[in-house]
Symmetry: C2
């Protein structure tokens, strides 16, 4: 995962034993040597075989042939293709430059499997290249600070699934996260002590480059910038004083676009930051400026009149145009969210669409390049299948010229961090982002959801070898919640609940930077494997297409859930973190009871009364409502069973 | 864990909420600020509450009062005492110097618990100080290289259980692991590319100091030094050429003690290394020199005659005396294993006993200081209870004067790395080393094994917050072994097997540096919790003291094991790493069958024939033999049941 562009199976397989070696023929460089070392690290973790770490021999079993170097600073659209040929005698990987070689190494690691005669890779020839040139993951370090080791392992996982852009959202109302030496109050007053030093930034940029990943920094402006104003209140349109925000949402604070001092500040600031981030693109945000501070400021109103700016959108367009000139003067191409697209926006600006494909279509028609993030908001806890089926070109390709179509560069998964911390981010990002990575890399025709889920689960297991261990984190959080009680019953419950989808969580409670994210909703993954598996069984039973073992499996699950509430009781009584789960556990018990009864009727061909069915469905509808900010995922499947029951006339 | 010297319970409890802060009254230093930050990191992981990371306020809920600094280089025997007072209103920690404060912070973290009204710490006054001044963990980086992040997290865990000496075994026959700038061929030819740079060494020394831990380096000589000779064959007594050894065991290669050039080399080498390791003690090994290379070298035989050295022990004594002078000339106190103790050994040399308490007694009587490692060899996979009950002073204290008794400084757990890698080391070291740490720290009267196990299991869970996650590693290794098959049945088997004890593993197979350590024996912890639990049930049933739920628990376990072989079959058939488990799984099935039958007889008061019993016991004896380098731990418990059955006369 992602599936290659072209795969041709061969005869036999290549055996991986203690004599396995990797060597370079032709061009090499320090980055490739490090890639080889990293490749061996992962292979050691995959197999447990202690391969020699000595320098590569001239005639290695795995020969890498790279034609020449890639660009000194990775460029959008560089050749990323590779050919990987695996035969029983040996492995050959060829690529035009190191980027393709990096991808080919990852493909090989995905092909390793344990067999009765040891670890092997099936004989195969793979010709591969990406569908889109811009395949990104955005991490929001602004709302919650995400520690460097977490960033590193996410870059490792990005490399594993061939993503090539790390979009780093580095400032927001709640925090400014980069050390500025020119304006040190940005981090000193705007970060609560949680920011990246310039040394750390340089380290991450180099770390990403080693993995074939560009780093595009984002400093959101003119809104989503309250944290800046704690140290530099003169940048703001309001009176202040300001502090980094503690609540989430669209806030009023915004930069003052009418003062020259604002642009003088931004000029120096952008100059400093482009010194840290060498990528050709520089993201200035531009989203969700509500204009309230502008409306409340007489000087800004005066300025609008004087310059015939008819509304706040026009004022923001003026601001954006000025900022774009600054960005260009520092030899960078500006990128921004939908809102930066205005009548006079220069044509090289890249539009990242959080609003949807319509904005992307509009931008492409007007000659702009764009990328899609709408549909890839992985913080919203939707199933991987939903993200997977979103295609940047779907429904718009036929409305564009080939040239306009080519201007749609790809897309980015985005993890906004209102509800994630360094502890929980991995389970929100992975493995679902692997499915999105496949959308960006593989041919458009690769769309089979069942195949995706099967491969994604294997990839989830494999990502453990890259340090991405969300299952272990879930276990640790359940241990924490259980205190000294046995966590087993809590595990059973945890496996069938999911966080609410979309923005529902915010509607249920109010949260902010000080809210602990240590409840069951934070511990469980966005998508329950158990619920998906049980659902598939219920679909077959309800459709009269049950496999022989389905009846017993369904019964085993339902009995487990029926008996769980009593077992969970000691934990619920002992811990503040679990007390809220009492109704969720009861609802699971009741759902299981309804399910077992339905299973009996279906098996025996017995009919139930209309009233009984109605009562059962009403109870299930209740169970499907969020409780303790959780969705209990068994009820919808049991609903299928109940609806399939015969009803007495 | 370790239990404090004195605990007085108070009334009520201290609540940990989002407003929790930690501040210093009086003396502070950068190390204490970092300790505060680290303390908050762990507390955040323990609770999931995002405490503010801002600088501490003047009036904090948790006030730390340190009188003054500790020594610039941590000294053996420094004051490590502290007083921790927890009351509903606040927490006070006082200590003479930062070392005590570090310990007190860890004690507080151990007291945090989840309750129905949130995270709290019970009101308590603790006056605490260690029983022994030298409380160590030795890690062998020579046989298998142990990566820096693994060393770091083991230092974190050492701090958590108040160990204060990291003894780093840095060279052996199989590898030389430190960058030398004076003799670079040591690492270039002696490490297979796996060594610590000087920068990394300095980092670890500082990292340890931050945690109140001294770092004592060990460079083993004159034997266990074959890896040195790959780059510097003139140091050796044999003709060479040499390579780092690939097999384990006591090898013949040894330094040539008769050439002045050997001591010139060692003088420069020790000079360079003492520049890296500031601790007052310097360990030169000295163990297991078999003298074969000396015997085979005519020049050495000549030297012995000329200097009237009657045997190789005398020659080694000569070597040791010369090395001791070099060590002393670099302002360090020499430490060595039992063998360095010779008639003329200077009195300040510290003897580390791997042979047993008799050597320690002998050394103490002769006026030497010593520490015990015999009994604390955690690589031998013995139960924690065995290590726990070994006391450095037991059986020898009454044979010594108080002054001699005081010369027994403490002890060290040792993890020799023939059978551990960076992947598996955590499960070998933890949590059992926490029990040993309690032996070194707590009063001698603390010896209750049941209490130890209960607390050790909690500590194991807590050590996850320090990055020590052996359970997760076991799961990942089982996933690897299972390939694409469901790992659940393998988990069931894994929970009731243990590695063989002592040196039995080496007797079963031959291993070396190239042996993969990826089998079930490597994946499972040294001690099976499930087997211990099941054993306790069987003991009660066999003794006629079963608790009401014991019968059902025993039956549930036995049924699970009886049914497991069939479920495991697909995995065993698919993977080379599991194929060897076929007889182990069958043996578990058969054991369970015998157990269920015995359970029925015991419950029903039925008698069995003598022949039946004999047959059952014979089958169990077979099941108790190592298979696939594993001990199946259910059989001994079932044996208890069978032996408790009534036999027809």
């Amino acid at each position: 995962m992602p599936l290659p562009a072209s795969v041709t199976s061969g005869q036999g397989e290549f055996a991986i034993d203690g004599q396995f070696t990797v060597g370079f023929k032709g061009y090499t460089e320090a980055r490739l040597e490090r890639a080889r070392s990293r490749f061996l690290d992962v292979l050691i973790r995959e197999t447990g075989i202690p391969f020699s770490r000595e320098a590569a021999p001239a005639e290695a079993k795995f020969a890498i042939e790279v034609k020449g170097p890639s660009e000194a600073i990775e460029k959008l659209g560089e050749d990323e293709s590779y050919r990987l040929t695996v035969a029983p005698e040996g492995v050959k990987l060829t690529a035009a430059n190191p980027l393709g070689a990096l991808h080919g190494l990852q493909t090989f690691l995905q092909l390793v499997r344990i067999t009765p005669h040891g670890f092997t890779v099936p004989a195969v020839t793979i010709d591969d290249k990406p569908r889109f040139a811009w395949r990104g993951l955005m991490i929001d370090s602004g709302r919650h600070f995400i520690p460097i080791p977490v960033i590193e392992r996410n870059l490792d996982a990005m490399e594993a699934v061939k993503l090539n852009v790390f979009h780093w959202h580095l400032s927001d109302d709640q925090g400014f996260r980069v050390e500025s030496k020119v304006f040190p109050l940005l981090q000193l007053k705007g970060s609560g002590g949680q920011f990246y030093t310039q040394e750390e930034i340089r380290h991450i940029v180099a770390y990403a480059r080693d993995r074939g990943i560009r780093v595009v920094p984002e400093f959101d402006m003119p809104a989503h910038a309250q944290s800046w104003f704690a140290g530099y209140p003169n940048l703001a349109s309001g009176k202040g004083p300001y502090e980094p925000a503690k609540q989430w949402g669209v806030l009023d604070a915004a930069m003052d676009p009418t003062r020259e001092s604002t642009f003088q500040f931004l000029n120096l600031f952008i100059g400093e930051m482009t010194g840290l981030f060498p990528d050709a693109y520089f993201h200035v945000g531009g989203d969700e400026c509500n204009g309230k501070e502008w409306d409340a400021n007489p000087a800004i109103q005066e300025f609008k009149k004087k310059h015939e700016l008819k509304d706040n959108a026009a004022l923001q367009a003026y601001f954006t145009a000025r900022v774009q000139k600054l960005v260009a003067s520092h030899h960078r191409i500006m990128e921004g969210w939908d809102e930066v697209l205005q009548p006079d926006t220069p044509k090289d600006v890249v539009i990242q669409s959080w609003r949807g494909r319509d904005s992307l279509l509009d931008a492409a028609r007007r000659g702009y390049r764009g990328l899609l993030s709408n549909g890839y908001y992985i913080d919203l806890n939707q199933p991987a299948s939903e993200h997977y089926l979103v295609d940047p070109l779907e429904g718009i390709a036929d409305k564009l010229t080939p040239e306009q179509t080519a201007s749609i560069l790809g897309g980015e998964a985005t993890i906004w961090s209102e509800f994630v911390t360094g502890e929980t981010i991995d389970s929100r990002v992975w493995p679902r982002t692997a499915a999105i990575a496949e959308r960006f890399w593989s041919p458009a025709t690769v769309r089979d959801v069942d195949s995706m889920y099967a491969r994604m689960e294997l990839e989830a297991q494999r990502l453990q070898d890259y340090g991405i261990t969300p299952k272990a984190t879930t276990e640790e959080m359940l241990d924490r919640m259980s205190g000294e009680t046995n966590p087993e019953a809590l595990r059973v419950l945890a496996r069938v609940v999911e966080p609410p989808k979309g923005y529902a969580r915010e509607d249920i409670h109010t949260y902010g930077t000080e809210s602990p994210l240590n409840r069951l909703v934070d511990a469980v993954p966005p998508e329950s494997e158990t619920a998906r598996e049980f659902h598939a069984i219920c679909v077959r039973i309800a459709a009269g297409k049950a496999m022989p073992e389905d009846w017993q499996s369904a019964r085993d699950w339902l009995v487990l859930w029926l008996d769980n509430d009593a077992k969970l009781e000691p934990t619920l009584a002992r811990s503040d973190l679990t007390a809220e789960l009492v109704p969720v556990s009861k609802s699971l018990e009741q759902t299981a009871e309804i399910g077992l009864s339905a299973l009996d009727s279906l098996r025996g061909g017995k009919a139930i009364s209309f009233g009984e069915q109605k009562q059962a469905l009403a109870a299930l509808a209740e169970a499907e409502k969020p409780q303790a900010v959780l969705l209990q995922m068994v009820a919808p499947s049991v609903e299928l069973l109940v609806k399939a029951e015969k009803v007495q006339q």
